[in-house]
Symmetry: C2
Subunit: 400 residues, 2 copies
C-alpha cells in the first residue's frame, strides 16, 4: 500500500475549521488507498503564548522544563486532529514524539534525531489508516522530552519519510519555491522542480521557506520533498535529486537574507588562545557562524563574521564574557547588512557567473563587503538599503 508523509505547520492548523478541512482532504486520500503519516505543529500562536507565560515566570528557564512545556502544543494538535479524523470515519491514531519512537541526541531545545524505528509504524498501520504525529519533539536517552529547535516539525516529517521510505509533502502558507522572494521582486517565478542542493543553498542563504537541515536530510535519503500551500489547487514545488531534473540553468534563484548580522572583533595581538576560547564558546552556545574573514597585520588581529540575528543575545553574552579574560578585546555588531546570493546547480559547468555578478553589482553602485562562493552559489554582504535593488538587478542580468 502506498504510504506518504504530510506535514502541516502551525498556521495551517491554527483553528478547528482548518483542522476539519485538512481532515476531509486526508479522508479522500485514504479512500484512494493511501496510508498517511501526518505531522502537525502546535496550533497557530500556541508556542508564542507558552513562551510569553514563561517570560512572566523566569528569565532563565531550564531547558528540560521549557521542552516539556512547549511540546504540549503539538500534543494537543495531534489529539484534536485524530479525534476529527475518527469522527468522520477514518481510523486514526495520535502519537507524541516519544510514542512514535523519535529518539534524539544533543541540547534539549536543539536536539537532533538519532533514530526512528519503522516497525512502530508498520504495527500502528495494522489498525489505522492515518497516524498523526507530533512534530518538533522527541525523547533522549534519559527519557527526557526534547525539542528539535527551529523548523523542527519539517525535520520530523522528513525523518519519518526517510525511515518509512516515502515521499514527504510539506504544506505551509506559501505556494512553493520561487526563484526569488516575490515580496522583493514582484515578477519572481515559481519553480516546478528544484534540486536538493539548490534548495539547501536557498534555505541556508535566507530564502526561509524550509530549514536547511530538513532538505539535507531529504537529500541524504533521496526522499522527494514537496512544498506547497495547504488545501490549495496551485501546484507547488518538488525538491529532488539533480539527476532527475532535465533542465539546467546557470542561476535558478536569487536569495536575500535579511535575518543576519555582522560582527567585527579586534585584538592588538594575534592570539590562538583567544580564537580557541571563542570557537569553543560558540559551539557550546550553539551559535552558527556563517561567512568568516580574518586579517592579521601590524595592528593585530581583526576577524569578521556573519550570524543569524536570533543568536545576537547569545553572541553578545559570549563576547562580553571573553572581554573579562582578554581585556583588550573589542567588538562591534552591525545590523545594517544583508546577504544576497545567486543559486544554481548549473554554475558547476558554466564559467563567468561570479564575474558577471560582481560586474552587475558594480554597475549598479552596490558596494559589497564580503563574498563567498560554493559550487552552486555566490554570496555577497551588502548594505541593507541596497537589498531590493540588488535582487532586481541580478534577476534581470541572469534572465532567471
Amino acid at each position: 500500500m502506498e504510504r506518504s508523509v504530510l506535514k502541516f505547520g502551525g498556521s495551517s492548523v491554527s483553528d478547528f475549521i482548518k483542522i476539519k478541512n485538512i481532515a476531509g482532504m486526508l479522508k479522500q486520500r485514504v479512500e484512494n488507498g493511501e496510508q498517511l503519516i501526518v505531522v502537525v505543529s502546535a496550533m497557530g500562536k500556541t508556542t508564542d503564548q507558552l513562551m510569553d507565560n514563561v517570560s512572566s515566570l523566569t528569565t532563565q528557564p531550564k531547558e528540560q522544563e521549557l521542552a516539556l512545556l512547549l511540546t504540549t502544543g503539538e500534543q494537543q494538535t495531534v489529539s484534536y486532529m485524530s479525534m476529527v479524523l475518527n469522527d468522520i470515519g477514518v481510523n486514526a491514531r495520535a502519537m507524541t514524539g516519544y510514542q512514535a519512537g523519535i529518539k534524539t541526541v544533543g541540547h534539549h531545545l536543539k536536539s537532533r534525531i538519532a533514530e526512528i524505528n519503522p516497525e512502530t509504524f508498520n504495527q500502528a498501520f495494522e489498525d489505522n489508516d492515518v497516524l498523526v504525529i507530533a512534530g518538533f519533539q522527541g525523547v533522549n536517552e534519559d527519557m527526557e522530552i526534547t525539542t528539535l529547535g527551529r523548523g523542527g516539525s519539517d525535520t520530523t516529517a522528513v525523518a519519518l519519510a526517510a525511515s518509512n521510505n516515502t515521499p514527504c509533502e510539506i504544506y505551509t502558507d506559501v505556494d512553493g519555491v520561487y526563484a526569488t522572494d516575490p515580496r522583493v521582486y514582484k515578477d519572481a517565478k515559481r519553480l516546478e522542480y528544484v534540486s536538493y542542493e539548490e534548495m539547501m543553498e536557498m534555505s541556508a542563504l535566507g530564502a526561509g521557506v524550509l530549514e536547511t537541515r530538513s532538505v539535507e536530510l531529504a537529500h541524504n535519503y533521496n526522499i522527494p520533498l514537496y512544498l506547497g500551500r495547504t488545501l490549495s489547487n496551485v501546484k507547488g514545488t518538488w525538491i529532488m535529486s539533480q539527476t532527475e531534473l532535465l533542465e539546467k540553468k546557470a542561476v535558478t534563484g536569487v536569495a536575500l537574507d535579511t535575518h543576519m548580522m555582522h560582527v567585527t572583533i579586534s585584538y592588538p595581538l594575534p592570539d590562538d588562545r583567544l580564537l580557541t576560547a571563542l570557537f569553543n564558546k560558540l559551539e557550546e552556545g550553539a551559535v552558527n557562524v556563517d561567512m568568516i574573514s580574518q586579517i592579521v597585520n601590524l595592528e593585530g588581529l581583526q576577524m569578521s563574521f556573519t550570524f543569524k540575528d536570533t543568536d545576537a543575545i547569545q553572541l553578545t553574552k559570549i563576547l562580553e564574557s571573553l572581554t573579562e579574560q582578554f581585556n583588550a578585546l573589542d567588538f562591534k555588531i552591525n545590523e545594517d547588512y544583508v546577504k544576497i546570493s545567486l543559486i544554481g546547480s548549473g554554475m558547476r559547468d558554466m564559467s563567468g557567473v561570479a564575474s558577471k555578478a560582481f560586474i552587475t553589482l558594480i554597475e549598479n553602485d552596490i558596494e559589497f563587503y564580503q563574498t563567498t562562493t560554493s559550487e552552486i552559489s555566490i554570496s555577497c554582504v551588502i548594505d541593507a538599503d541596497n537589498g531590493k535593488r540588488a535582487v532586481s538587478a541580478l534577476y534581470q542580468a541572469f534572465e532567471i
Copy 2:
C-alpha cells in the same frame, strides 16, 4: 532526610501568582531540610476548556486521544512550577506521569495505578530537592498515555506517598473535613482527626472532599493523610488509622449525597439472562451501582438501584440497548432523591444507632425509601426536599 508528598489541586494553581506563592512556601520547607514530591493538577479550568474544545469537534472522542489531550494540562503546570522553583533558587525537576514511572492498567480514562518504582525518586533527589509530578496521569503497558479518572491527582499523590513511605498532604479550597457539610448545616464543626474508615464512608456517601479510592489507598499502606486549605494557617484534618485515634464517638459525621439518581427496572418475568446482561454492560461501561434492592413476585421482577448522576447518560444508553433484546423491559430514572448517611467508627461497639436514626427521621416526617448499613455507617434514600432538614435533625439527635 525527611520526605513528604504535597498535592495542589486545580484551583490552588489557577494562576501564576498562586504558583509563585506555593513555590515560596515549598522553598521554606526545603530550607528546613525536607525533600518534597509535589503533585499538581491542571491550572484552574484548563481541563474544562480542553473538554469544550473536544465537544466542538466530536461527540465520541476516542479514549486514547482524550487522555493524550487532557494530560497536557498537568504537563504545563509541572513545567511552570518547576521553572518558578528554579528561578528562586530551589533545585527542582518537572516530571510527567510516565517519566515518574506511574504505570497504569484499565480504561484509558479511568485507569488504576499498577506500579511505581521508588528508585526513580531516589535517583532524581540526588540532584534535586523538589520533584514536581503531573497528577492524574500515567502510562499503560502499550506506552499509551492514560488518566486516572475522577479525583485522579489525589490518587497520584497518595500512591507516590505509599511508594516513598511518606505522609501525604492534600491542599485544596476547604479548611478540612467537617462533621457535616457547613453549607447544609452552618454549625458543623471541623474535625482534627478522622479515621480512614470514617473518611471512606464520608467520601463514598457524597461528602465529596476526597475520592474514596485515594483514602482507601492511604489506608492500605497506612499513609497519614492531611487535608487542608492551600497556604492557610487554619489547621486542617489528619486522616489516619483508627488505632491512633483516642476518642471514639458513635457518630462523627453526617453526609448528604445530592449527586445520585435512582432507577427502577421492571420486567414481567424473572430472567437471569436479563440480569447477567445488565451487570455485564454496567461493568463494561464502568457504571458503579450503589444501593440495590430486588423484588420478585407474581408481577415479575422489580429492581432498584442508586448510581452517580454523572453516569446517567451512560446508564440510559445501556438500558435502552437492553430493551432491544428484552422488549418487555421498562425502566424509570428518578432524580429527586438524595442519600443521607451517618458515619462513625464507634457504631461497631454501640447498639441502637440505627433505631435512633430511623426514629429521628420518622419524628420529623421524613420518609425513607431504601436503607443500607455497613459496620460504621447507616444510609437512607430520602426525598431531595427533605435533605437539609434531615441533616439538621440527625446532627442534633446524635450531639455531634
